[in-house]
């Protein structure tokens, strides 16, 4: 181990975080902490201070000699060797219990990390299930990601891009490597550094805190996945009884084009039945349905499943009833984004209805312009509650109208929503990879919030087809009635305020739009100025006329002809009376 790795135990370093996890997860009655790939053993003394026995394992003689000189146990072993390596460790342990295994900054330096972790898993199980604490640098730190965007990959002697690293870990890669080796994460104490050792040159726009570019890139990275400012992952793991690599692989069903979310509280079975009917009748059937039973009592869940099973098995088999408890209107939607298997995600509520080409149009446009939000037109129709015998039904009372614009207008959507939820489909990757979520703190407009975010990221393609009907309830059923106007305004303001805090990735053409609006504003201002000027002139003319009238009235001839005017008025009144 080169001397450059001879790090001391600093308070602001990864080491105290490892020791904290050891304290939290160690086997209480056992004493030995095995530090694999220990190097100079930066945590040896703090472990000893906890009353535990530190034992360093490494292949580097210098490092082990250093540890021995400080009075700690060592084992010279290569733990990628399942037989010889583990034998040496077991011999060293003798009949002492193993409290924890640690491994700090080892996995990024070896090409056989998986083998080491699997051997440690075997050792752990043979000792009754000993926890493992790992510390691994995070290659997806924002500083590294931002610099890659400007073509920089700066190796350094130590740190995130240490020039001796041979393996790199993202959150996903770490999960994959550990779970395949039989470890399940049970705790985390990541070491965060907003400005890592890669934060140079600090004045470059992608890195400099507060620049518009930095804000945009950081919000994308931060929203997309955990770990934007994690310097090292510090995680605790418990051994799985059956490691993932030994478990029977479960065949993944084929990915459908679309996942359809249907929220229901099982209060309107008649309209839910129609919504499902309209899905069963789609011309393109490449979709699955998540029937999101939100706060539905357990005994009603069975009835929902029974209702679905009334349909042809080919359709019913693609409907999953997902029970969701608690939270507001957005909560089941987030549950659905996590469970969705489709490429795209669309929603239709249990009182809305699709035309036969609802899925077909989404499919056609998504295939033509992959990765975009697909938007169709939505018709609106007013309905009101009506009793169908013993069943709660409804009646259509208004004409079909198409009040929403044919094409998506981002500017208008930054003022208000013009796209009902059943009119658009969003790539699932927008949720799973870009980190977009339905805001569960919003009482309403959660769909508008997501649509605007998705539109900014993905752009929108319009199908120009009317493919669904949004039902407006002329009764206390509708969300419009259920949620007061105040709530709508509050939610809208919240969405807009959050957008206003962010750097928005506006699409090409935005400058032209700005120019158009700027010219329109100038024209209007010019027209207003003209009108003000005309009004002023009119006022002056009126004042001048009034003055002239006044002068005439006070002139001598006006006063002399007064009796004649009185007589004329009287004659006119008499004539009108006769008529």
């Amino acid at each position: 181990v080169p001397d450059r790795y001879h790090f001391s135990y600093g308070v602001h370093s990864v080491y105290p975080r490892v020791v904290e996890l050891v304290e939290r997860f160690r086997i209480a009655e056992a004493q030995v902490v095995l530090d694999v790939g220990c190097g100079f053993g930066a945590i040896a003394e703090p472990i000893a201070e906890l009353g535990l026995v530190y034992c360093g394992v490494d292949v580097d003689t210098d490092a082990l000699e250093d540890l021995e000189a400080r009075g700690f146990e060592t084992v010279h072993a290569d733990l990628s060797d399942a037989d010889a390596g583990l034998d040496l460790v077991r011999k060293q342990l003798a009949d002492r219990g193993l409290a924890t295994i640690t491994s700090i900054d080892l996995l990024e330096h070896v090409t056989n990390g998986g083998a080491i972790l699997r051997n440690l898993h075997d050792l752990s199980l043979s000792q009754g299930g000993v926890p493992l604490v790992l510390a691994v640098p995070n290659i997806t730190h924002f500083d590294v990601a931002a610099k890659l965007l400007i073509g920089r990959f700066d190796y350094t002697p130590t740190g995130l891009l240490d020039d001796t690293h041979v393996a790199y870990f993202s959150p996903g890669r770490l999960h994959e490597v550990t779970s395949r080796s039989g470890w399940s994460e049970v705790g985390r104490n990541d070491f965060e550094l907003a400005d890592s050792d890669q934060h140079f040159p600090a004045e470059v726009a992608v890195l400099a805190d507060g620049t518009p570019l930095h804000r945009l890139l950081f919000q994308i990275r931060d929203q997309a996945m955990e770990g934007a400012i994690v310097n090292e992952f510090v995680r605790a793991y418990a051994p799985l009884a059956v490691p993932a690599h030994l478990a029977h692989p479960v065949a993944e069903p084929e990915q459908p084009f679309l996942t359809v979310m249907v929220r229901t509280q099982a209060q309107r079975t008649s309209t839910l039945m129609e919504t499902l009917l309209s899905l069963a009748a789609q011309t393109v059937q490449d979709f699955e349905v998540l029937l999101l039973a939100h706060n539905v009592p357990q005994d009603e869940i069975g009835k929902l499943r029974d209702l679905v099973d009334l349909f042809d098995p080919e359709f019913a088999g693609r409907v999953r009833v997902v029970q969701v408890e608690g939270g507001g209107r957005a909560h089941p939607l987030n549950a659905a984004t996590a469970a969705a298997r489709g490429e795209y995600l669309a929603a239709i509520d249990d009182d809305d209805i699709a035309f036969g080409h609802w899925v077909e149009e989404f499919h056609r446009a998504a295939r033509a312009r992959p990765g975009r939000v697909v938007r169709s037109m939505v018709a609106e129709q007013t309905v009101e509650s009506m009793q169908w015998g013993s069943e709660a039904g409804y009646e259509v009372i208004g004409a079909l109208t198409c009040p929403f614009p044919e094409d998506f207008d981002l500017w208008m959507h930054l003022f208000e929503n013009q796209s009902p939820f059943c009119g658009f489909a969003v790539p699932v990757a927008c949720f799973s990879d870009m980190g977009v979520k339905f805001d569960e703190t919003l009482a309403v407009v959660e769909d508008w919030d997501v649509l605007v975010q998705a539109a900014l990221f993905c752009g929108v393609v319009n199908t120009k087809e009317v493919t669904s009907i949004y039902r407006r309830w002329h009764s206390p059923h509708s969300s419009l009635h259920q949620h007061s106007q105040d709530e709508w305004v509050r939610s809208r303001d919240k969405v807009l305020a959050r957008l206003d805090q962010r750097t928005l990735p506006m699409p090409p053409g935005t400058l032209s739009d700005f120019h158009r609006m700027y010219h329109e504003r100038n024209q209007l201002q010019g027209q207003i100025a003209e009108l003000i000027s005309e009004r002023q002139e009119a006022r002056l003319a009126a004042a001048s006329a009034l003055q002239e009238i006044d002068e005439i009235r006070h002139s001598g001839s006006w006063e002399l002809t007064g009796p004649l005017r009185t007589l004329g008025s009287a004659v006119r009144r008499v004539l009108r009376g006769k008529g």
Partner: protein, 314 residues
């Protein structure tokens, strides 16, 4: 859907059902979807004992066979697994039109009840129960399903469902009604209004025609971007022809005259062609004898055959 229907009189037991549909150049996949909806609805109806037997007849007016021999056999076998007793597929080798096509099938029918359906519909699984329930009343002759997503705006009585006429997009009819009124008037109606005419003759025979809102059928219609209905050129012709025929057949020569004038002066080429065709029949004396001279059942409200609750589109 869990309840049994308020049955027909017990002595009669569950009725037998004859289902029929007439195809004309269906869109790809349309017939498969029709069958999928149908088999779920019939399977439920048979499992719950609402019907003692169900037979299905398909008449094909398309230029070429929609089902080949093997496909028809295969479909019959698959329907049998869903409990359908008998499946008949008749290729007419001619575009007979809706009314004549249905009459051909009605001639073969033998159920207590007849369900007439369009092939571009998808039946809601519980539809047959809802259609059956109003037939507890022996004076109900026809029960019409509610169409979605575009609901027909015809007015109906909110208590007993009574309405002016029933659409054959999906309607359940007593066999005895067919026998008494003699099926569709295929000589007068090719594509439209054959169902209005059948409904009015059913009412003239003393039966009620009922709209059942809880019986739901998905009818695959589309809207234009302004919310209007998509209409093809042929539809202009047949709709105009049928309107004139309805006015004539239900003793409203005044409307024949007024509509002819309007179609000729403000209509399109298809409209004018329809007026000419009607006048040609008038000259030849091949128009049907007028009915309902007292106007007891016929309702002409504008160009509609019932009061409407709302405009289809604004």
């Amino acid at each position: 859907v869990s309840s049994q229907p308020a049955d027909l009189p017990e002595s009669q037991g569950s009725p037998s059902l004859w289902i029929q549909s007439v195809l004309y150049r269906p869109e790809p996949g349309q017939f498969d979807r029709f069958v999928q909806g149908l088999r779920a609805a019939t399977a439920l109806a048979l499992n719950r004992g609402w019907f003692r037997s169900i037979k299905l007849a398909i008449g094909d007016c398309s230029p070429g066979k929609v089902l080949g021999y093997e496909q028809a056999i295969e479909l019959g076998e698959s329907l049998e697994r869903y409990g359908i007793d008998e499946f008949e597929y008749l290729f007419f080798n001619d575009n007979l039109g809706s009314a004549r096509g249905h009459n051909e099938l009605l001639d073969r029918s033998d159920g207590d009840l007849v369900l007439i359906v369009n092939p571009d519909v998808y039946l809601c699984p519980d539809i047959l129960l809802h259609l059956l329930t109003p037939l507890d009343d022996p004076l109900v002759g026809m029960v019409e399903a509610r169409q979605v997503p575009v609901e027909h705006p015809k007015a109906f009585d909110h208590l007993d469902g009574t309405t002016s006429w029933a659409s054959t997009a999906c309607v359940l009819i007593r066999r005895e009604v067919i026998d008494r009124v003699g099926g569709f008037d295929g000589d007068s109606f090719f594509l439209y209004c054959d169902d209005v005419d059948l409904s009015w003759r059913t009412r003239l025979a003393g039966y009620r025609v009922v709209h059942q809102p809880s019986a739901v059928v998905f009818h695959d219609k589309r809207l234009t971007s302004t919310g209007g209905m998509e209409v093809g050129a042929a539809e202009f012709y047949y709709a105009a022809e049928a309107s004139l025929m309805m006015a004539w057949k239900y003793s409203r020569p005044d409307l024949v005259e007024a509509w002819s004038k309007e179609l000729l002066s403000t209509g399109n080429a298809e409209h004018r062609r329809a007026v000419e065709a009607f006048r040609a029949r008038e000259k030849k004396g091949t128009l049907p004898p007028p009915l309902d001279s007292a106007g007891t059942v016929a309702q002409f409200v504008g160009f509609n055959y019932a009061e409407h609750r709302f405009e289809v589109s604004a």
